[in-house]
C-alpha cells in the first residue's frame, strides 16, 4: 500500500514512526501535499525527536507528536476524535 493510497481512503492516521526513513518521509510528504484535506495525523514514536524534526512534522500537518507509552493509544484516540469534524465523522 502506498502513502497515496493510504491517505485517499482514511479519515485519520496514527503513524508509528519507528525510525527516520523513506517510508515515513514519503507518507508525511504526501500528507503535506494533501494538507487541504485536513486528515488529522498523530505521530507516535519511541524516539526523542529534536526541535527541527518536531517542527517539520507540525509543518507537514501533524496534529500531535506523542511519545510511545502505555497510555499513548488512549491519548491518540482522544486527540483524533476531538480533532475530527462532525461532518468528517458522519461522512
Amino acid at each position: 500500500v502506498t502513502a497515496a493510497q493510504l491517505v485517499a481512503n482514511v479519515r485519520a492516521v496514527v503513524l508509528d514512526l519507528a525510525s527516520p526513513g523513506p517510508a515515513g518521509d514519503a507518507l508525511l510528504e504526501r500528507l503535506r501535499a494533501d494538507n487541504g484535506h485536513g486528515i488529522p495525523v498523530v505521530v507516535v514514536t519511541l524516539m526523542d525527536l529534536d526541535s527541527e524534526a518536531s517542527l517539520s512534522l507540525q509543518k507537514a500537518g501533524v496534529t500531535a507528536v506523542l511519545r510511545k507509552g502505555s497510555d499513548t493509544a488512549a491519548a491518540a484516540a482522544r486527540i483524533l476524535a476531538a480533532t475530527l469534524d462532525r461532518e468528517q465523522v458522519a461522512s
Partner: protein
C-alpha cells in the same frame, strides 16, 4: 452558568451534595422550575484540571463585522461548536462561556483520575479542529480564526455561588485563575500550562515541542510550559 430568572434554586434532590450540585447545572439546561424548599447543596472540593480557550484577535474581528453582528455570531458559533465538541469528547464540561472562549473543567465530578491527560488531549484536539474549520472556511471568510489555550490543575471548589434566592454553579480556585491568566498569553495554536500539568503529561508529549517560559505579573514564581501546536515560536507577550 447563569440561572434564568424563573429558575432560582435546585429542585429537591435525594442523595449527596455532588449530585445536587450537578443538578444545579441541569436546572439551567433543562429549565426546570425552582423549588423554594430545596436545600442549597454543600460545596465539594476536587482535584480538577481547568482549560480555558480564547480567540486571538477577536476584537479586530468584531470591528470587521461592525455592520453585521449576526454574521459575527455565526462565525463565533462555528468555532465554539468545534471547541465544545472537542472538550466533550475528552470528558470535559464547558462550565461557561468567557467572551469568545470557554472555561471548561475536567475531573470536576470526582470521577476522572486522568483529568490532566484528558484536558491535554482536548487542547490538542480543539486546536486541530479549529484548523480544520480554517481549512474549510477561511478562504470564504477572508480571515482565519486562531485559538489559544490555557491549562492549570489543582484543587477547586464546586459550589453554588450566590444566595438561596439566586445562585449559579461556580468553580473557584487558584487553578481557575491561573488558567484564565495563561490563556491571555497563549498565542495562535499554543497551549500554555503550569508545571503541574506539564509533568503529568511529559511522558506522553514530545518534550521538544514544549518550552519553558514565564508569565509576568503574578505574585510568586509560576512555572509555565508552552506547547506550540502549529509550529510557531512566538515570544510570550
Amino acid at each position: 452558568l447563569i440561572s434564568p430568572p424563573e429558575v432560582r434554586r435546585a429542585p429537591p434532590i435525594e442523595g449527596d451534595d455532588l449530585a445536587r450540585l450537578l443538578l444545579l447545572r441541569k436546572t439551567y439546561e433543562q429549565l426546570q422550575p425552582a423549588d423554594d424548599e430545596a436545600p442549597v447543596p454543600e460545596p465539594v472540593v476536587w482535584d480538577s484540571t481547568i482549560l480555558f480557550t480564547d480567540l486571538r484577535g477577536f476584537t479586530r474581528l468584531t470591528e470587521r463585522f461592525a455592520h453585521d453582528p449576526a454574521g459575527l455570531l455565526r462565525v463565533l458559533n462555528a468555532h465554539l461548536t468545534r471547541i465544545i465538541r472537542s472538550i466533550a469528547i475528552c470528558g470535559g464540561v464547558v462550565e461557561k462561556f468567557v467572551g469568545d472562549g470557554v472555561m471548561s473543567t475536567f475531573g470536576a465530578d470526582g470521577n476522572q483520575t486522568d483529568h490532566i491527560g484528558r484536558a491535554m488531549a482536548a487542547a490538542i484536539g480543539l486546536v486541530g479542529a479549529n484548523e480544520a474549520l480554517n481549512r474549510r472556511l477561511a478562504g470564504d471568510w477572508g480571515f482565519r480564526l486562531d485559538v489559544g489555550v490555557g491549562i492549570a490543575s489543582g484543587p477547586v471548589v464546586i459550589g453554588a455561588v450566590g444566595s438561596v434566592h439566586r445562585s449559579e454553579l461556580g468553580v473557584l480556585g487558584d487553578a481557575v485563575n491561573v488558567a484564565a491568566r495563561l490563556v491571555m498569553h497563549a498565542g495562535a495554536g499554543e497551549v500554555l500550562m503550569t508545571g503541574t500539568v506539564f509533568r503529568a503529561v511529559a511522558g506522553m508529549l514530545q518534550s521538544e515541542l514544549t518550552t519553558q517560559s514565564s508569565v509576568r505579573g503574578r505574585s510568586g514564581s509560576l512555572e509555565i510550559y508552552r506547547m506550540a501546536l502549529l509550529g510557531g515560536r512566538a515570544e510570550l507577550t
